[in-house]
């Protein structure tokens, strides 16, 4: 008799625990489902995403000149390189094997990349103008700006110096200036992003 009552109670308890488990799970699931919209709401909205690429007309940029455009809230440097600038960039190239791995780095580049891998057309250098150290905008776009020892850009905040391929040569910055995704729509129009 007592046994029967106990098993019934035991069965009742497991039924009750299962119910509580289900209820608690439902509450947890509901809370998680509700939390996601709050988080996703902070992700970029449709209008921000719609402006994630821009088209730039570079027909007016003479050889040796540079322009700065705003893309995704950041400056993008577009420099029409002179043959000398292209040559000096290529001179400091590291040696790479067929797969692209760096075999030798005679110029001692901190972030070794070949100049060819950083441009689509050698005379057009397109870089994100944000110093890879702590985010300042390096100087060197205007001809009156200091360009550092390597003819590229000079960051006034902590002294990072970039060469004519935008690679870091001196100073605290760890990486080369970023090359954004871009494509030439026409010879005179480049689409960035």
């Amino acid at each position: 008799m007592a046994d029967h009552a106990q098993t019934a109670q035991g069965a009742g308890e497991t039924r009750r625990d299962f119910l509580y488990l289900m209820s608690a799970s439902a509450a947890a699931f509901g809370t998680a489902a509700v939390v996601w919209p709050f988080i996703d709401m902070m992700n970029p909205s449709s209008d921000v995403l719609a402006l994630s690429s821009i088209e730039v007309d570079i027909s007016g940029v003479q050889v040796g000149q540079a322009i700065t455009v705003k893309w995704r809230g950041k400056p993008v440097f577009i420099r029409h390189r002179t043959p000398e600038e292209i040559a000096s960039a290529q001179k400091a190239d590291p040696e790479v094997d067929a797969k692209g791995h760096v075999i030798a780095n005679p110029a001692g580049l901190r972030d070794p990349q070949t100049d060819a891998s950083r441009v689509k057309k050698p005379e057009w250098l397109i870089l994100v103008g944000v110093c890879t150290h702590l985010g300042c905008v390096p100087l060197g776009q205007k001809s009156s700006d200091p360009r550092g020892e390597f003819g590229g850009w000079y960051c006034p905040c902590h002294g990072s110096q970039y060469d004519t391929s935008g690679r870091i040569r001196k100073g605290p910055a760890p990486l080369d200036l970023e090359v954004p995704a871009y494509a030439f729509e026409k010879d005179t129009v480049v689409k960035i992003g």
């Binding site: 209820s23 439902a26 489902a33 402006l51």
Partner: protein
Amino acid sequence: MQKRSIALNGLAVLFGLTAVLFIAASPHEEVDIPREHWSFQGFFGKFDQAQLKRGFQVYKEVCSNCHSANLLYYRNLSQPGGPGFSEDEVKNIAASVQITDGPNDQGDMFDRPGKPSDAFKAPFANEQAARAANNGALPPDMSVLARSRAGKGFFNYAGADYIHAILTGYKDAPSGFKLQDGMNYNEYFRGHQIGMPPPLADGAVTFADGASNKLDDEAKDVAAFLTWAGEPSMEARKLTGLKAMLFLVVFTLLFYAAKRKIWAKIH
């Protein structure tokens, strides 16, 4: 004591009856806006994409000559829950208009073909230009127009009913009605005098899919389009609502069962 009880009970009943009759009273409308059936009505209603495309065409060819829709962007036309144009179609639609951009490096404004990220091109540069071109009346922006017009619809699709009614409500003024200069008689507009001349007529727009372009259908199509324009997230809202209600029903039942179980000891 009996008398007091009856008096009090009677008074309470009178209050209750007054309240109920008052709440149930409906405001007398000067005109009854005819209620149409819309595909997007109801808990499971959806937009008819073909209708939205036709409605957009009506907007583009007729309404956009006077009415702006500043909160709509060309990219909205390819978003889910809308007319369902493809990305390429949207690029073409946008490129077919010239958008003023600038200033350029010389400080001048210039025109360029539209992009999907542009807002719908406005017909007038500013409110004053719009008024000057329309006898001093300002054609209202259409972005949320369908949401701003009331009617008897509890779920607020009265906007679509209203727009359809206005567009089909132009009639000759009845004898004795004093119509002011430059105004048009409309059966459903408040006061019956509207500044807008009848914008639509049978055959005003030709639809590529050969759908009916009678006035009534053109009006329905553009009303549906404007309803979408006012709330592009409607379909997402109803779908999410279904999921939420289902979950909440399960949640409530579970907690009801848990409550009964826990309280069984007490009862």
